[in-house]
Symmetry: C2
Subunit: 260 residues, 2 copies
DNA sequence: CGACGATTCAAACGAACGTTTGAACGAGAG
DNA sequence: CTCTCGTTCAAACGTTCGTTTGAATCGTCG
């Protein structure tokens, strides 16, 4: 029985039906998990609900994936790995094409967004639902999720940070780091599509939550923020120093900030 | 006994020690809940952990608040209500001062940010930890949280949307709605301070996660995005139409987008 | 055929959860 | 004192969770 090593070497197909499309169970679990994790989150999705939806036995998850957490990581990795790989490859290709000039940062952002869009359009199961799962994972408090994402994203982020630094030589590195953080935050939040304040539904009454349209609006927004002039040191601060609650609020507080 | 109405009218102090600082239990539960919900999220915080930390009996939560969910809403409402009230009042006051001219949108954003900053600086317990709790709640999948936040935020959001619409008459209403959504998303994500990719720690090695500094960097970033020129219709789209993965990628795709 | 190994299955395990119960407590009013 | 009533308490309830178990199943190969 060998229960001491429950997971039988996650390797290739040594399965029962041998040569062809064998472990339908494993794939069905992955697909159901992606859909349910997307809809209800990690903690709120029970293995009993999941295995029922997938039409497999309850124990199948632990047999094939070992643990619920490992299943979650597998679900994420299945689409995240290729996407981040595409991002870095695309960036490298665009940079090579622009050489010896630095790649302008709207192109860099294109390399960041296009693979996500491409994933959203993926005809295969998942598609844009996966982006919602990903955005939700970004905000999950579970430590194992945070660590997994950090490891998964760190190299890609570092690569893009270098590219942006080359495109924006005047921008202090620290400021760039902040702005990249804001960009990833807005991107995650938007992709999560949680409709927190029902804004999306109100804005896009038709049933189709057009992700492409969404990213096409988000990209210029973030690009403008990225290339914004450096903030004055006393924009918000001076307003807070004066008693804003009584309406005094910094007469000349708009230095360094673009007017409307 | 009257167990048919377990919660004894959440009204004022009719307590045991009568006249003074009575239901220490209730306050201790609220404080402990704020800290623990902040650190671990709603689902991951058990009532047993919570009541142990607060030094009260397990049943006290159900006695005083009825339900774990109602406790959570109370924790949020305790600081959220005053903050959103301050936001709207400050906006109204600034608008009155600017009349008959429209209030420029950097000032509008000041009214959005300053009360949050003020809350972060609050010497009373909670302070900036609460903002992290709030940012986390924004991304929580639990339906009751989403509904609660939507009801709580909708009026304030609508008020600010009108103000921005007056300051940006050339911006289509639909575009403005999107950008406001992006702003609230980036704000929530930033306030959540989840340090998803450990960026914050790397950027701010000193122990103090200076929220003021953070918002002072976020505000110009978002302001630039808000006032960005309208996106061309084929920035990202044409790049996607051409086969970006092979590096063709839209030679003249930067129309309408500010160059770096 | 017969044994093997990978897979599936029904059933159970132990733990943790939110909530309820009914008795004990303790100050204030009659 | 006695009764009352808001509060606290230890204990238990019923449910659900992720995981484990050991037998049954089935195609493959000697």
């Amino acid at each position: 029985m060998e229960r001491s090593n429950p997971r039988p070497a996650t390797g290739p197909k040594t399965g029962p039906a041998a040569g062809r499309g064998v472990p339908a169970t494993k794939a069905r679990i992955l697909d159901a998990a992606e859909a349910l994790f997307m809809e209800h989150g990690f903690e709120a999705t029970s293995l009993r609900t999941l295995t029922s939806a997938a039409g497999v036995n309850l124990a199948a998850v632990n047999y094939h994936f070992g643990t619920k957490e490992e299943l979650f990581e597998t679900v994420l990795r299945r689409r995240l790995d290729p996407m981040n790989l595409q991002r870095v490859e695309l960036l490298t290709r665009l940079e090579a094409k622009a050489a010896p000039h630095a790649l302008p940062c709207d192109r860099i952002m294109l390399a960041l967004f296009a693979p996500a869009l491409r994933l959203a359009r993926d005809p295969a199961r998942g598609g844009k639902d996966f982006l919602r799962l990903l955005g939700r994972a970004y905000a999950d408090p579970a430590p194992f999720i945070r660590q997994f994402l950090a490891e998964q994203y760190a190299p890609m982020i570092a690569r893009f940070k270098s590219a942006f630094a080359r495109a924006l030589p005047h921008l202090p590195r620290r400021e760039l780091s902040w702005r990249l953080h804001f960009i990833m935050g807005a991107l995650s939040y938007t992709l999560a599509g949680t409709d927190a304040l029902k804004l999306i539904a109100e804005l896009n009454p038709r049933g189709s939550p057009n992700d492409e349209l969404l990213l096409r609006r988000l990209a210029p927004f973030l690009l403008a923020g990225l290339t914004a002039p450096l903030p004055g040191l006393d924009d918000v601060a001076s307003a807070l120093g004066g008693d804003i609650v009584e309406g005094v609020a910094a007469p000349g507080a708009d230095r360094g900030v673009r007017k409307c």
